[in-house]
């Protein structure tokens, strides 16, 4: 009987214990992966894995510089119902700083944490910037890495306006006004990290100063111009009504005054002039050309008649090489004819023809005893007088359409530009053949060039409003400092 009693108790215990259900619920929080890290921003992927319905009061990530997560930065994502992935993001972190990050979830009054991952924020860097040569007010794009939202950009000492920071890697800034220097270091500051670009930024230079107005509100066209010592001469040609002018005006660079200089020859248009000679040209009566073959030597304000040109010359470029006058092309004797006048023998000789058509609407300059002429296809040809040979030198990089531009050499640089209705001036380094654009000229874009000169490493530009522009608009004389800011 006792045996049955114990057996009964044992069976009842067994029965009761079999009714006890084991709790198999599992809740796991995983810090899966750091999917983004920059200079000051981090983005982390976490996951809640559970086999039971769960409502977390809060979930997210903790971030700390210490592994023990003391004083952590909390990325709170709020309530979460059920399992699944979650992404947390925070910014404003210190650059180049080691952090520990872990996912957390607060459910049923308990905190669950994922495994801690170690991550280091990145250092900013500059990769490149463009343009590297421009002018104030233009936009510049700096390409780099890990720029923080507080990034500042300096052009030397001048701070630029940051317009946009895209993907922490593209900085769009507005170029500030220069502070007296053309080449300045480009500095990017993110938090306390200062970065300097490997190449400096260069401001586009060139400063124009209005020196004076041509006397008598007069405008001259198809004229000649030349320079003798500190005097700038411009004249002959016609006025805006087409009347022929028989004199020139001389601008004295010392006194900045104009004075009239009479020319002993006949009136004409389309003549040529160099520092030492003036000649050619024609009087044009409707379609009839009355060519002038007389040649004059310039001696200050005096003109000495020389033997006449052997051919007609009209709108011919002219230049002096080795003290000898060269007249090329033009519509008088042939667009490719090259003639040389030797003042010692007073003899004209014919040289190798130019390989392209030439007229005075195209520009020419002399450098190191060689002549350079711009063709209409923008190629610049070099003429070497000793070998009497032509070769292609380089190419003008922008449009020269319409011609009527200028070309003047200062040191090892030539300045070419101001073609028909263009205010653009280009600088060519004759040693490196690198082109740079200069500050555009102020004034009316429809102005033409009535003369261009150099003095004390500066350009002088006599600008004349186009014949079609009505009104009493005077001709303006500008001084251009190529390095001025």
């Amino acid at each position: 009987m006792r045996k049955f009693y114990f057996l009964g108790i044992f069976l009842m215990v067994l029965l009761a214990s079999s009714c006890t259900r084991e709790d198999e619920s599992t809740t796991v929080v995983e810090t899966e992966e750091v999917i983004y890290v920059s200079g000051e921003k981090i983005r982390v992927l976490g996951r809640l894995i559970t086999n039971q319905p769960i409502t977390a009061l809060d979930h997210g990530f903790q971030l700390s510089t210490s592994e023990s997560f003391s004083n952590p930065i909390l990325i709170s994502l709020g309530e979460k119902n059920g399992p699944g992935r979650f992404i947390g993001e925070t910014s404003g972190l210190q650059i180049n700083q080691k952090y520990f990050v872990r996912a957390f979830i607060n459910a049923d009054g308990a905190d669950f944490f994922g495994e801690a991952l170690e991550v280091k924020t990145l250092l900013p860097a500059i990769e490149s910037f463009s343009p590297s040569f421009s002018f104030p007010g233009e936009e510049m794009m700096i390409v780099g890495r890990n720029f923080t939202p507080d990034t500042r950009v300096f052009f030397g000492e001048q701070e630029a306006t940051v317009l946009e920071i895209a993907f922490d890697s593209r900085l769009k800034v507005r170029i500030p006004e220069p502070a007296g220097k053309a080449k300045v270091p480009l500095i990017v500051q993110s938090q306390d990290e200062k970065l300097e670009a490997s190449q400096p930024f260069e401001y586009r230079t060139g400063k124009y100063t209005l020196v004076g107005l041509f006397p008598g509100n007069e405008r001259i066209y198809d004229n000649v111009f030349f320079q003798h010592q500190n005097g700038l001469f411009a004249g002959l040609g016609t006025d805006k009504f087409g009347s022929y002018l028989g004199s020139l005006q001389r601008f004295d660079l010392q006194s900045t005054t104009w004075s009239k200089v009479d020319f002993p020859g006949e009136t004409r248009r389309g003549a040529f002039a160099t520092a030492g000679y003036i000649g050619g040209g024609a009087r044009v009566d409707r379609d009839n050309y009355y060519y002038k073959r007389d040649l004059w030597k310039i001696s200050g304000e005096h003109f000495e008649r020389l033997p006449d040109l052997p051919v007609d010359s009209y709108h011919s470029p002219a230049f002096e090489l080795n003290g000898q006058l060269h007249v090329v092309g033009g519509t008088g004797s042939g667009l490719r004819t090259l003639l040389r006048y030797n003042p010692a023998t007073k003899i004209w000789s014919s040289l190798s023809s130019a390989p392209f058509d030439l007229a005075s609407t195209q520009v020419s300059f002399v450098y190191q005893n060689k002549a350079y002429l711009l063709a209409t296809d923008n190629r610049i040809w070099e003429y070497e007088p000793t070998a009497d040979s032509w070769k292609i030198f380089t190419k003008f990089p922008v449009s020269s359409e319409g011609g009527l531009g200028i070309a003047q050499v200062i040191g090892d640089r030539v300045y070419i530009g101001f073609f028909f209705r263009s205010m653009q001036l280009m600088e060519l380094d004759l040693q490196t053949l690198i082109w740079k654009s200069k500050t555009p000229i102020p004034g009316n874009p429809e102005s033409l060039n009535a003369g261009h000169f150099t003095y004390n490493d500066q350009l002088y530009l006599l600008r004349c409003p186009d014949r079609t522009i009505p009104g009493a608009l005077p001709m303006e004389l500008y001084r251009f400092d190529p390095n001025g800011i």
Binding site: S38, R43, L45, R85, I87, P124, E127, R145, F167, S169
Partner: protein, 348 residues
């Protein structure tokens, strides 16, 4: 009379049969990303589209996702912007000169025009061993009811697997070039069938993009640190390719373990044949996540890989079985990718 009546009565039940239409619930238009950047010459493409419902017939068109901002960012923070193709909407290309670098991790970021932002998980670029040699063998597959089997060539990549790391391989067929003979003298104007022989041209070089209809992947569990030979491509013999010389570029990639797992699952799903041993059809999760809703289902995978390539020239004599030559009665220049001049690097 009675016979006619029976015929008419027989027609009635026939007309009453309705075609069976499969009712498919409206599917979500899921974002789908297919992208591979590698250490080889670019540009590399990322293709983004939206899926559509598939039933007894296409319910909609797979739409390319156009106008998105797509960038690839490395683990040092260097961001590369991808530009959408003008003629391939939804395909975004890396700039010329971009190459992934071994040892770096890359993430893909996509911002759609609706402002939704997606990112991939970081993918690390692993070094890839060179293809030591490419060999080939002819493969024939009997076709029921046909006397001629289907055939082609299988390319086998020979590699020396590095022992110090776990490697996962993926192969793709690159562009192929072959010499094609046609018969312009047999040209006829259809449908009138008027003979109009053309004077030119009989022989052209045909260049075609790689056809990657099958996935070729491998992991080195069974050959770690050993020299091995693995099937890496299959080129179908269409009666045109292997008449003279055929050249193909084989591309070998070293991919991450996660990318390998993804491609293996895709391969399994693609090779379902209806057998009871097939894996059940399932959505395969890739490595693209929506930042706005991490639970959003996004399809596809962004792979960053090391790449090596090798070319193989195949002569017709090397095939143990060839399909009958296809006769094309026209100027060979009318064929897609045809040129009279061989590619500059054609050195059979």
């Amino acid at each position: 009379m009675l016979r006619r009546l029976i015929h008419i009565l027989l027609l009635i039940p026939i007309a009453c049969i309705d075609p069976y239409e499969v009712e498919v619930p409206e599917g979500k238009e899921l974002l789908s990303v297919d992208g591979l950047i590698h250490t080889g010459q670019g540009p590399h493409a990322i293709t983004i589209s939206r899926s559509t419902t598939y039933g007894s017939q296409f319910e909609g068109l797979i739409r390319p996702v156009s106008g998105a901002t797509v960038v690839v960012r490395d683990n040092e923070g260097m961001v590369t912007f991808l530009e959408e193709g003008q003629e391939a909407r939804g395909s975004y290309f890396t700039p010329t000169g971009f190459r992934a670098q071994v040892g770096k991790s890359y993430t893909l970021q996509i911002q759609t025009t609706e402002g939704r932002v997606y990112t991939s998980l970081p993918e690390r670029v692993n070094a890839v061993p060179e293809i030591e040699a490419i060999t080939m063998k002819t493969v024939t597959v009997p076709v029921e009811g046909e006397t001629n089997p289907r055939s082609g060539i299988q390319l086998i990549s020979e590699i020396n697997d590095p022992a110090d790391q776990n490697n996962f391989y993926f192969w793709r067929s690159g562009r192929a070039t072959y010499l094609q003979e046609t018969y312009p003298e047999l040209y006829i104007i259809r449908p009138a069938k008027i003979p109009a022989p053309k004077a030119c041209c009989n022989f052209c070089y045909i260049t075609e993009p790689g056809s990657n209809q099958s996935l070729f992947i491998a992991q080195d569990d069974s050959f770690n640190g050993l020299s091995t030979r693995i099937p890496a491509a299959f080129i179908k013999d269409d009666g045109r390719r292997f008449i003279f010389k055929y050249r193909m570029e084989l591309r070998q990639y070293s991919i991450s373990q996660e990318a390998y797992r993804f491609l293996r699952l895709i391969k399994q799903q693609a090779e379902i044949s209806g057998s009871i041993f097939d894996p059940p059809p399932a959505t395969i999760r890739g490595n693209i996540i929506s930042l706005d809703n991490p639970d959003e289902e996004v399809l596809g995978y962004f792979i960053a890989a090391g790449e090596t390539t090798k070319e193989i020239y195949i002569d017709r004599a090397e095939l143990s079985f060839r399909q009958n030559k296809v006769t094309i009665p026209d100027d060979c220049l009318t064929l897609p990718g045809a040129s009279l001049i061989p590619p500059v690097d054609w050195k059979p």
